[in-house]
């Protein structure tokens, strides 16, 4: 016997195991069939042996062959035999094979005759995993006969002590019920118990089974509704929740009362989903998402839910200053559509959005005014029902927009008439007041139009209309309405008198409402220049004496808030004085029973070390992202930008007096903010790499106000003021190329830039702050503003965002963007197009409109900067003809374009430095005058670095390239000399 076993295992050594078989099949790709037939012969031999291990091995191999599609049913008997063995693996593979290989008829016969005892034996095996395997196997080949025979066994297992078994038993009952429905009735109470099983796995299995059963016959499960309701409100398992909701979907048609109960928990779930949406939107999918939400708004039955949807739509659209809206006409249309909602409480919200957009987005005003005029015209629809009161708030916005921007109205007379209808008097007072005031504005516009023509009677008729209609408002109960109406009525009467004397009054009436109302940004105060001679840091009164500030508590509050002022004074106090005071304080604290002593450790450190005061206190400048690199910090950079621009502006004002500069057709939406485009200098300059080229600067010109986040990214286009840098840079590049290592530029402060390659292209540039181009047929055509971003998912791609703005008065279409590919960088074109094809820009540009397009470039090596030449072709459509135009540009990728801001903690950073794998180089920059924290912020922002640690005027920074190179950077200021920068590269 022993010999036999030994012999068996020796035989086994020469057998193929499963791994060999798989490997063998992979190695015989050409003659797979032949190889497998030899394998099958071997297996047949193995199956004839006595050694169960050999047999099991053979069966394992059969499983694999079977999966490949070979017929193994001839081995069914051996398989069952192996399954009866006690070894676990064999069973696993056999249970697999049972299902796979043996067809249904065979199963029934074999199992009933041979393996039924085996399976039942396994079911009661002491080992839970044996039982588990038996159950799993069974789940795949339950037949009605098996189900009938095993139902009671499995039912017992449902109360097994091990949750592992309970869970499997519960699930398999589902299969049993399907095959043998009679078993359901006796098993159901126990199944119901499992819904409240302490083990979440068992519980979810039970929910699963009952939900599936209920779907087939919901009526019988109505009694479980309260139990499921409890589960739904208490369970945090999403999988279970989905199943339960599905179940309720089947139950509610049978029990209408259930629907009411479900509203609350379900809306909670929906809110969660809506919150997700908020974070999900991007420029690309915003319209789609809102469209879907609008559909839901139409379908929604409850007002609360609908209102919720409405606020969500507005929240989503207006988030981060309308960051994701590319087409404001679309947004206005959405808002107008929302006014059709009956009984919403959010009329005010819609109104404020309308006002906001119309004021901030100049280009949209024509469209907005037209829409608002229609709204006013149909105002009676909104006010017809007192129930709909909430929505009439939008008329407030409509009236104001139509009045304020009345020059865009197509038929101001009609709108004026609509605003003075008697029905208006039923509106709430504050809306009427706006109506009256804006009717006056409209009146001015109408007068101007009518006086321009020869028909002077028409103007008088208009005055008469107002005189006829306004008395209604004079009688209003609302004070504001009354006051405005009577004032305007008298004014119009006076105007009429003048008109009768044939005096032209339009100019003067218009002057009443002259001047544009501009929105004020929350941070506008910062933009107000500090008047000369006013020092905000100086004390207005004599500063309180030192001893007072030290001893008196209330004063201490002030010193805390203004550490700047207190710190220098601290250092002035001499050593002795300090010691004396500390002693006094200690005494006082010791004697004061109410004083809670600080923890001994900190107290000790502070008191025992002499001269702690000498340690320089590093003031942390919060405008530099010290702690949370990688977080969106654009606001802070914006602040920096603003500070900078403010400085610029004050400087420039002086210059401007001397030199009057030409202003070329500004963007239509350009000066919406308190900061008009003229104020925005290209304070950062474009570092021109090819010196022969004329220096042409691309600046962002418009819409800065209402999209601050975009703006902050847009001001990165800079022109080098220091030519020596170029030399340095070139040298460095050469060095780096030799090294073939990741290289990093920190000395030119641009993100990347674009410049007109060819001066002869007449329509090229937009804003030349320094050197206007000599010839230009199109005064200013297009601005491109870019952002280059590495693609995190793909180490070899960068995405370039380009903003196209049409600054002409003509329609632009058929724009094609093309770049001459280099060996290293290629524009990604759709499949099937040749490498010289341009990419169609997916939109057309009406005058004054801008839009953004993204282009993906694949890059091979990221260790060198790239310069790509490209052209943009487009068709300019004028009234009578259209011409084909071309604009050349250069696209520059710097090495830092490929960096991705990655946070790094100081310990990890130290390890990196210690590793010795870093290559290093350093350089000195001279003539850098900006404050150190500005410099850091710039490096962070433009070059995607994050600050690891900053000590005084020395900082270590970290970034990572899209291909995973580490880039470490050390920036130092050498006394008053400019920052000394050294970089370490890996």
């Amino acid at each position: 016997m022993a010999l036999k076993i030994v012999k068996g295992s020796i035989d086994r050594m020469f057998d193929k195991n499963l791994q060999d078989l798989v490997r063998g099949i992979r190695n015989h790709k050409e003659d797979e069939a032949k190889y497998i037939s030899t394998c099958i012969d071997e297996i047949k031999q193995e199956l004839k042996q006595d050694n169960i291990a050999v047999k099991a091995n053979a069966v394992c191999k059969l499983t694999y062959l079977q999966m490949l599609g070979y017929d193994v049913s001839w081995a069914a008997f051996n398989i069952v035999e192996v399954m009866s063995s006690s070894k676990f693996t064999y069973k696993v593979s056999c249970s697999q094979l049972q299902l796979q290989s043996v067809d249904a008829v065979l199963i029934t016969t074999i199992i009933n005759s041979v393996s039924l005892p085996l399976v039942t034996q396994d079911l009661s095996s002491p080992n839970q995993y044996d039982t588990g395997v038996a159950l799993t196997g069974l789940s795949c080949f339950v037949t009605p006969d098996l189900a009938r025979d095993l139902a009671s066994d499995i039912m017992t297992l449902m109360s097994h002590t091990k949750p592992y078994i309970r869970k499997k038993a519960v699930l398999i009952m589902y299969k049993v019920f399907l095959k043998y429905p009679e078993s359901l009735r006796p098993a159901f109470p126990r199944l119901k118990e499992k819904l409240e099983d302490p083990d979440p796995g068992v519980q979810s299995a039970a929910v699963n089974v009952i939900c599936e059963l209920a779907r087939r016959n919901p009526k019988n499960y109505l009694s479980l509704a309260p139990l499921f309701f409890k589960l739904m409100t208490s369970s945090t398992n999403n999988w279970v929740l989905i199943k339960i909701i599905k179940l309720f979907g089947a139950l509610t048609p049978l029990e209408p009362r259930l629907g009411k109960k479900l509203i609350e928990p379900l809306t909670n779930l929906i809110h969660r989903a809506l919150d997700l949406l908020y974070g999900m939107v991007s420029k690309k999918n915003l319209m789609e998402i809102v469209k879907k939400l609008m559909l839901h708004v139409d379908k929604a039955e409850g007002t609360t839910y609908r209102d919720e949807l409405l606020t969500k739509i507005i929240d989503i659209c207006s988030q981060s200053n309308y960051q994701y809206i590319t087409n404001f006409e679309w947004y206005i249309s959405i808002l107008v559509e929302l006014t059709r909602l009956e009984g919403t409480r959010h009329g005010h919200l819609i109104a404020s959005q309308m006002l906001d957009v119309a004021i901030r987005v100049k280009a949209i005003r024509v469209f907005a005014v037209a829409q608002m005029a229609t709204l006013l015209d149909n105002g009676h629809l909104l006010t017809g029902n007192m129930q709909r009161n909430g929505i009439c708030e939008v008329l407030y916005a409509a009236a104001w927009i139509c009045g304020e921007f009345s020059e865009h109205l197509e038929d101001p007379m009609q709108t004026l008439e609509a605003m003075l209808r008697p029905k208006v008097a039923t509106l709430p007072g504050h809306i009427q007041a706006v109506y009256v005031q804006n009717a006056a504005k409209l009146f001015a516009t109408v007068l101007r139009k009518q006086e321009g023509t020869t028909d002077s009677l028409a103007a008088q008729e208009t005055s008469q209309l107002l005189i006829d209609r306004l008395p209604l408002f004079v009688q209003s109960a609302n004070l504001e309405v009354q006051e405005r109406a009577s004032c305007i009525l008298q004014l119009v009467k006076y105007i009429q008198k003048l008109q009768q004397k044939e005096v032209e009054v339009a100019e003067e009436v218009t002057a009443l409402f002259a001047g544009e109302l501009n929105p004020v940004a929350p941070k506008a105060q910062k933009k107000v220049p500090v008047p000369d001679g006013l020092d905000l840091d100086a004390w207005i009164n004599e500063p309180p004496s030192e001893s007072e500030s030290e001893d008196e508590k209330p004063k201490a509050i002030f010193t805390k808030e203004e550490p700047k002022h207190t710190r220098p004074r601290h250092t002035e106090v001499d050593e002795k004085e300090l010691a004396r005071r500390r002693e006094a304080r200690k005494q006082e604290q010791a004697n004061n029973p109410f004083y809670i002593k600080t923890s001994p450790s900190s107290q000790k450190v502070y008191q025992d070390q002499p001269g702690v005061e000498h340690i320089p206190v590093v003031q942390i400048d919060l405008s530099v992202p010290l702690k949370v690199p990688g977080m969106p910090m654009s606001d802070q950079y914006l602040k920096l930008e603003e500070e900078r621009r403010q400085k610029e502006r004050s400087e420039r004002k002086k210059k401007e007096k001397k030199k009057k500069r030409e202003k070329h057709g500004r963007g239509r939406r350009a000066d919406s903010g308190p900061e008009s485009e003229e104020d925005i200098t290209p304070a950062h300059h474009v570092d021109i790499v090819t010196e022969e080229m004329p220096e042409v600067c691309w600046v962002l010109l418009q819409s800065g106000y209402f999209i601050p986040q975009v703006m902050s990214a847009q001001f990165l286009f800079q022109k080098s003021t220091k030519h020596k840098k170029k030399k340095q840079k070139k040298e460095k590049e050469e060095k780096e190329k030799k090294k073939k290592k990741k290289h990093h530029h920190h000395h030119h402060h641009h993100h990347h830039h674009l410049h007109s390659a060819d001066e002869s292209v007449q329509n090229g540039t937009v804003e030349e702050e320094e050197e206007p181009l000599p010839v230009r047929t199109w005064p200013s055509l297009l601005t491109h503003v870019y952002d280059v971003q590495g693609n995190l998912q793909d180490g070899s791609q960068v995405v370039v965002s380009v903003i196209f703005e049409n600054k002409t008065d003509h329609f632009l279409k058929s724009m094609e963007f093309n770049v001459l590919d280099s060996l290293n960088s290629k524009l990604q074109r759709p499949e099937g197009s040749s490498p010289h094809d341009g990419l169609a820009v997916p939109f057309q540009l009406p005058p004054g409109v801008s839009n953004e397009a993204r282009f993906v470039f694949s890059v091979q090596s990221i260790v060198m900067p790239q310069k790509l030449k490209g052209t943009l072709t487009f068709i300019v459509k004028t009234e009578d003809a259209s011409t084909h135009e071309k604009l050349d540009f250069k696209l520059h990728f710097t090495c830092t374009s490929y960096l991705i801001t990655t946070p790094c903690y100081s310990d990890a950073y130290a390890k990196l430095l210690e590793s010795g794998e870093l290559k290093s180089s350093s350089l000195k920059l001279e003539g850098v005058i900006m404050p150190f924290h500005h410099l850091l912020a710039r490096i962070c922002f433009h070059h995607h670095f994050s600050v690891v640690e900053r000590i005084d005027s020395c900082a270590s920074m970290y970034s990572r390239s899209i291909q995973g190179h580490h880039v470490c950077l050390l920036v130092k200021t050498v006394s008053t000399r400019p920052p000394y920068i050294s970089s370490l590269l890996l």
Binding site: M67, S93, A104, N127, C140, L171, G201, S204, A205
Partner: protein, 147 residues
């Protein structure tokens, strides 16, 4: 769920699990047909399709397609979640799983699937408890092998 298939980009079947008894010949035919349909689909196309009287939910992970057939009334999205959870389990068990792992350890892959799904229904939604069961079973097998 009726069945789950794993096959490669080249149309090689890597794993199949049938939750209803089907004749061998039909299985083969269905697998062949389904592979053709799924492999012919472009990457941007929807992960769901109607096929015969079933709904097919598939997802491609690297070179491997995970494909499930569910009944008409079943929810496609949760099926997609099931596929993903299965992949997560494989990934956790093998440690960044690749096709070869499944080829050479297909019995393990089957076992993971069996611990996660049973009779076509989710058995346990907790990754932890599924992996614990698998670990236990591995241990058990080692002990047996030792004797």
């Amino acid at each position: 769920m009726r069945f789950m298939l794993l096959f490669s980009r080249q149309g090689k079947l890597r794993l199949q699990k049938w939750y209803t008894a089907t004749a061998e010949r039909d299985k083969k035919k269905m697998v062949r047909e389904l592979m053709q349909v799924v492999l012919a689909r472009k990457p941007k196309m929807c992960s769901f399709l109607e096929w015969r009287d079933l709904k097919i939910v598939y997802k491609r992970y690297a070179s491997l397609y995970f494909c499930c057939a569910v009944e008409e009334q079943d929810n496609e999205l949760i099926t997609l979640e099931v596929i993903h959870r299965f992949v997560e389990l494989l990934d956790k068990y093998f440690g960044s799983v690749c096709e070869l792992d499944i080829i050479f350890n297909f019995e393990k892959a089957y076992f993971i699937l069996d611990e996660f799904l049973m009779g076509g229904e989710i058995q346990d939604t907790s990754k932890k408890s599924v992996l614990k069961a698998i670990e236990q079973a591995d241990l058990l097998q080692e002990v047996y092998d030792y004797f």
